[in-house]
């Protein structure tokens, strides 16, 4: 075990992946300089400029080159500095990477990884704070993963690089400096498998990404109040582990979905609708959802703090279900 920050866990995974497989290379704005948020520190020195490529400000081409390189035998790992900027590359992500295999009848595949720094609590306002996973969980052909701890960030990224499909890896910028234990040997992660982060019998809380530590905090508080929560960290959002969620709900009979993204139309809606449909007879209360308010993310800290979900609001939502 070593204590590493989330950002350092990401660079560790990148180095491990590049070490293990010559075909892996990274590209993106400033990645050769360590990345705007430090996730690629040390890679240039270790792997050289051919495999650690700074790009112009050209998100569509960053992803487009990755598609082409993956079709031609490489394993690109592209960095999108803020997930909001992926809006500039949507065609390449959704209409190309996610569809090339299908459109070709299985002839081609594009094993590429896109890493996107995501989310708020940066006082960076509406164009630098969004969690847009719902755009991609809606799209067949791409996988979506996100870790809420350094260890998960590392394990998922390694699994994403090893996967034969395009994978979007969402990294929470607000967690980048957070330190935690990371095992020495990279443990195997299976995409599509959720992780039960905490066990409790009264409610199932399904969450991911930046909300994981906040939900665990809320679960602590609830525990003190005599309410036990299963905290399921989905880890993979597409395909998501419905079995794990439903198994838990069949025990707790209550469910809450929590994500940082706008609550309205967020991926939580899919999970809530699925639980409500498939666990219909088991539910003692409506499935709750906590996410950002239905407004763009504002700049000023008190506004942003109000708009984004907090541990307190998660706890309050659980209490309201009692």
């Amino acid at each position: 075990m070593t204590r590493l920050s989330y950002a350092r866990a990401v660079s560790l995974a990148l180095a491990e992946a590049m070490e293990a497989d010559d075909r892996v290379f990274v590209l993106g704005e400033d990645v050769a300089h360590g990345g705007a948020y430090g996730a690629t520190v040390g890679l240039l020195d270790r792997f050289g400029p051919s495999r650690v490529r700074d790009t112009p400000i050209s998100e569509a081409a960053i992803v487009g080159y990755s598609v082409g390189a993956s079709l031609a035998g490489m394993r690109p790992v592209a960095e999108i500095m803020h997930m909001d900027f992926i809006a500039c590359a949507m065609d390449q992500v959704v209409n190309q990477a996610a569809k090339v295999r299908y459109m070709s009848g299985g002839k081609a595949s594009a094993p590429l990884v896109i890493r996107a720094g995501t989310g708020g609590w940066l006082s960076a306002a509406a164009q630098h704070s969004q969690s847009l996973e719902a755009w991609f969980t809606h799209i067949p052909g791409i996988k979506v993963v996100t870790g809420g701890t350094p260890a998960d960030a590392r394990g998922l990224l390694l699994a994403a690089v090893a996967d034969e499909n395009p994978v979007l890896v969402i990294e929470s910028l607000s967690l980048y400096e957070r330190q935690d234990e990371v095992p020495d040997a990279p443990p195997p992660y299976r995409l599509g498998t959720a992780d039960l982060k905490r066990r409790g019998d009264d409610v199932t809380i399904v969450t991911w990404g930046a909300m994981v530590p906040r939900v665990l905090e809320a679960a602590d508080v609830l525990h003190g109040e005599g309410v036990g929560a299963d905290v399921i960290d989905l880890l993979t959002l597409r395909p998501w582990d419905a079995d794990a969620v439903l198994a838990s709900v069949s025990r707790t009979n209550r469910a809450l979905v929590v994500h940082q993204a706008y609550r309205h139309g967020g991926f939580g809606a899919e999970i809530a609708a699925t639980i409500a449909e498939r666990a219909f007879d088991q539910l003692d209360a409506p499935v709750g959802r906590v996410g950002s308010l239905d407004v763009p993310v504002p700049f000023s800290p008190p506004l942003e703090e109000y708009v984004l979900p907090t541990a307190e609001r998660v706890a309050a939502a659980v209490r309201a279900m009692a």
Binding site: A61, V63, Y65, A69
Partner: protein, 327 residues
């Protein structure tokens, strides 16, 4: 190195094959046999054939919505091709792609594209991969004049020049983007002038002259293969038919079309071959008959082939996952 007569003859044969295959498609489409849209390549054959004449089988291309010529010129299998356009299970893409998505990884055909311009960074990325893997392959992106207006064209060429990837960007300037004449969508004399924005060589060639295309492509491909970086190669040509089959074409005169038909790339080549003594009426008829026979076989096989069963729709989304269907 100019084309030998043999090469020219080979290119001629391919042009004829494309032309006749396209004519057949047009008929089949008009008869309601083909689902979806068809964008005909008729009139532009010299570009695909000249460019692919400069390529090896292991070189890559990305094609466009108007891609049939590219596929055939790169060596595509006519049977798989027709079957795909019919939406048959035996087609190139098992019926999932259709006219705009023919893919053949064995021939380096990384797919056509329904999104204008989207294949440009994909070809460039494949070129980058070749360089990183130490392979001396090149990648060609075919693109229309209209595609040179979309953002990703600019991004891809800037990055290509920066990284000196072994790519050739072949702009088929056929004078129109949809219903818009070139003057209506860009104010620039030659498309190839845009190469200067990336300090990249920009070359314009008569896209109806298969030898000229082949020579210019050979130079650009050679430069790319040798590590000399990418080229923007503009081939000036013309589409004889509408943007899509069924387009009533109010936006141009039949005089204009007739004028270009007089510059038919196939007749031009035929004349040259005749002058070189490499073609006469009989061998010309033989070429056509051979092509037609191949097309007949392909069409017959395609017609006889089964449609995919509905559940096949659930495959090929992911490696390793089959989706759940209607219960």
């Amino acid at each position: 190195m100019p084309a030998t007569t043999d090469e020219l003859l080979r290119m001629y044969r391919t042009m004829v094959l494309i032309r006749l295959a396209e004519e057949r498609l047009v008929q089949l489409f008009a008869a309601g046999e083909m689902p979806g849209f068809i964008h005909s390549y008729i009139g532009e054959e010299a570009t695909a054939v000249g460019v692919c004449g400069a390529l090896r089988q292991d070189d890559y291309i990305t094609s466009t919505h108007r891609g049939h010529g590219h596929i055939i010129a790169k060596g595509g299998d006519l049977g798989l091709f027709f079957a795909e356009l019919y939406g048959k299970a035996t087609g190139y893409c098992r019926g999932k792609g259709g006219s705009m998505h023919v893919t053949d990884m064995d021939l380096g055909i990384l797919g056509a594209n329904g999104i204008v311009g989207a294949g440009i960074p994909i070809a460039a990325g494949a070129a980058l991969a070749c360089r990183m893997r130490g392979l001396d392959r090149v990648a060609v992106a075919f693109l229309g004049d209209g595609a040179t207006d979309i953002g990703v064209f600019h991004e891809a060429l800037n990055m290509a020049s920066l990284w000196e990837v072994p790519a050739v960007f072949v702009c088929e300037n056929n004078g129109y983007a949809d219903f818009m004449s070139r003057a209506a969508h860009q104010r620039i004399e030659r498309v190839s002038d845009r190469a200067a924005s990336y300090s990249m060589p920009g070359v314009t060639v008569d896209g109806n002259d298969v030898e000229a295309v082949r020579d210019a492509a050979t130079e650009a491909v050679g430069r790319a293969r040798g590590g000399g970086g990418p080229t923007l190669l503009e081939c000036v040509t013309y589409r004889w038919r509408g943007h899509y089959e069924g387009d009533p074409q109010p936006y141009r005169t039949s005089d204009e079309v007739e004028e270009w038909k007089r510059r038919d790339p196939i007749s031009t080549t035929e004349a040259r071959l005749r002058a070189a003594g490499a073609l006469d009426d009989a061998s010309r008829d033989g070429v056509r008959a051979g092509a037609l026979a191949e097309i007949d076989r392909a069409v017959a096989a395609a017609e006889a082939a089964p449609m995919p069963s509905p559940e096949e729709a659930l495959e090929d989304v992911y490696v390793g996952i089959v989706e759940v269907g209607w219960s």
